[in-house]
Amino acid sequence: MTDFFILIVRSLRTYLRQPAAIIPGFAIAVFFLFVYSAGLSSVARLPGFHGSYLAFILPVAIVSAAIGGATLAGEAFIRDIGSGYFTKLVLTPTNRLALIWGPIVAGGIILVAQVVVILVLALIMGLGSATGPAGLLVVLVFAFLWGMAFSGFAVFVALRTKNGAATQAATLIFFPLIFLSATFVPRQYITSSWLKVATDINPTTYVFNAMRSVLIDGWRAGPLLVGLAVVLAFATVTGALALWQARRATQLK
């Protein structure tokens, strides 16, 4: 546990020393929040739509911020492997789980800080939460877990390829995950049948649904439990891939 804490602090310190790696992801999330909430707010006037469009689009901004957190952890491993420092860490008696999860959790903490800022901005813009501050906390927890899931994937690719460009490119697959969903309008307004299928099989849809339900509808167990199950399943798969690859990376060759 001590190793874990020490390595989280180390990762946070190095992440904060690269603002250029944090700011773009955050800027894109804020951009989504401002541009789509202003430009598409008329969607809220469609018959059958309830709640504010700001509350509807906020999860999109938050999930896009999660990609930034994922990139941080993946790039940290690439930097450590490239500089030879990863070998130095492997040669310490450090717990192998701490070695992998330290940078990932630190990326999650940065993500949570970003999401807090995004939520504050949204509140200033007039966001109302049907479940009050507790609902905002739930949104924060979903953002953290989704960020962990993204990070697990990025770390898996980083350890597998040991290549920064490949790690960056791999995180791009999350853009279809964001946009092939009920991203800008509720599912019932999607006319294309293939996009409806994509929306139904896209795990992000259920994260959006869970966040939107607490912001717009109030406490409803269904979307929350499904969202939680999906996010935990996704995080388990990517986390297992990352650990499997980490075990290979830290074994004698």
């Binding site: 001590t2 190793d3 020490i6 180390r10 310190r13 190095t14 020393r17 690269q18 930097r79 450590d80 500089s83 030879g84 420092y85 990863f86 070998t87 130095k88 860490l89 492997v90 040669l91 310490t92 008696p93 450090t94 004698l252 060759k253």
Partner: protein, 340 residues
């Protein structure tokens, strides 16, 4: 017993034992059936040109690479089966430094000490002590390692290797690329660690002078195999007590002299137009050498009597000088070397 106290306690195993250790990379056998016995508290010099197998052997002993065959133990622990125990007992500064460029020197040493179980306060004290030890105390404490020069990084890497007071220290070419003053600083530190803490130090180097000055025993590796082993004095004595160095007006003269002197001087080596011949007592042989060359009309430019160096040992063991081996590694053709 903590590692730190063990380092100064007599009777603690700090030895290295290597038996038929082999490492294969595809068709290349980088380390070929190497045997070594290094007792506790020794400074051991491991000599060889680039690509001879030095770093591969160090990486196997440091549990970074798995041996393809053979066995090795460090501080009494098997490198294959007891990796965790080996890692606690050793400090490693590889040829390629391993440092996070975004962190400061103190942060890195504190982190290293913490990961070996030292709490924060003592870890900070260790950092201050080691920063001074490796001569980085005048560097701005806020300066990130990415802005350090190559020499500073190498010294910091050594400090990291020492952060947990290891029993055995592996230094893979620790002074390569350093200026002469920094090199002497590292030598002094190696001697101090060995004499004050009884640390066993396994030092690979391309610099014969370095091995000669520091090491109690040396081994020379060539194409993965140990080709000579012993104390520097023993290895030099094996060539003869003294050496006669002959230089000639032309390269052709040196070649001819090597042939002419075959009967007079049975142990000669030619390199860069200079012929070095080894004898128990050189002065007794000089008249015969001069006479033989005169009769063969080989014009002599200079003659001097010297003691054999480790370079001579290396030359005999590998068939080329260290300088030539470096040039070969750099892709330059090595001058013709005649040995017999």
């Amino acid at each position: 017993m903590t590692t730190a106290s063990a380092a100064r306690t007599p009777g603690v195993d700090r030895s290295i034992a290597v038996e038929q250790l082999t490492r294969q990379f595809g068709d290349l056998r980088a380390v070929d059936r190497v045997d070594l016995e290094i007792p506790s508290g020794e400074i051991f010099g491991f000599l060889g040109a680039n690509g001879a197998g030095k770093s591969t052997l160090v990486k196997m002993l440091a549990t970074i690479l798995a041996p393809s065959a053979g066995r090795a133990s460090v501080a009494g622990f098997d490198v294959r089966r007891q990796q965790g125990k080996v890692r606690r007992a050793i400090g490693v500064a590889l040829q390629e430094v391993g440092l996070d460029p975004l962190m400061t020197a103190r942060e890195l040493i504190v982190l290293q000490a913490q990961l070996f179980g030292t709490s924060t306060g003592p870890a900070r004290q260790i950092a201050e002590r080691l920063i001074a030890t490796v001569g980085l105390e005048d560097v701005d404490a806020r300066k990130r390692v990415g802005d350090y020069s190559g020499g500073m990084k190498r010294r910091l890497d050594l400090a990291l290797a020492l952060a947990h007071d290891p029993l055995v220290l592996f230094l893979d070419e620790p002074t390569t690329g350093l200026d002469p003053a920094s090199r002497i600083d590292i030598w002094n530190e190696v001697r101090r660690l060995n004499s004050e803490q009884g640390m066993t130090i396994f030092l690979t180097t391309q610099y014969l002078e370095e091995a000669d000055k520091l090491a109690g025993h040396v081994a020379i590796i060539d194409h993965g195999r140990i080709v000579a082993q012993g104390t520097p004095a023993e290895l030099k004595r094996g060539l003869g007590e003294e050496v006669v160095e002959l230089s000639f007006e032309t390269a052709d003269g040196a070649e001819r002299a090597a042939s002419v002197l075959a009967g007079v001087a049975p142990q000669c080596r030619l390199s860069d137009g200079v012929l070095r011949c080894y004898f128990p007592v050189a002065a007794r042989e000089v008249p015969g050498i001069v006479r033989a060359l005169d009769q063969a009309s080989v014009p002599l430019r200079g003659l001097s009597i010297d003691r054999p160096s480790l370079d001579d040992v290396f030359l005999r063991a590998t068939g080329e000088t260290v300088d030539h081996a470096r040039e070969r590694e750099a892709g330059e053709p090595a001058p013709a070397t005649v040995t017999r």
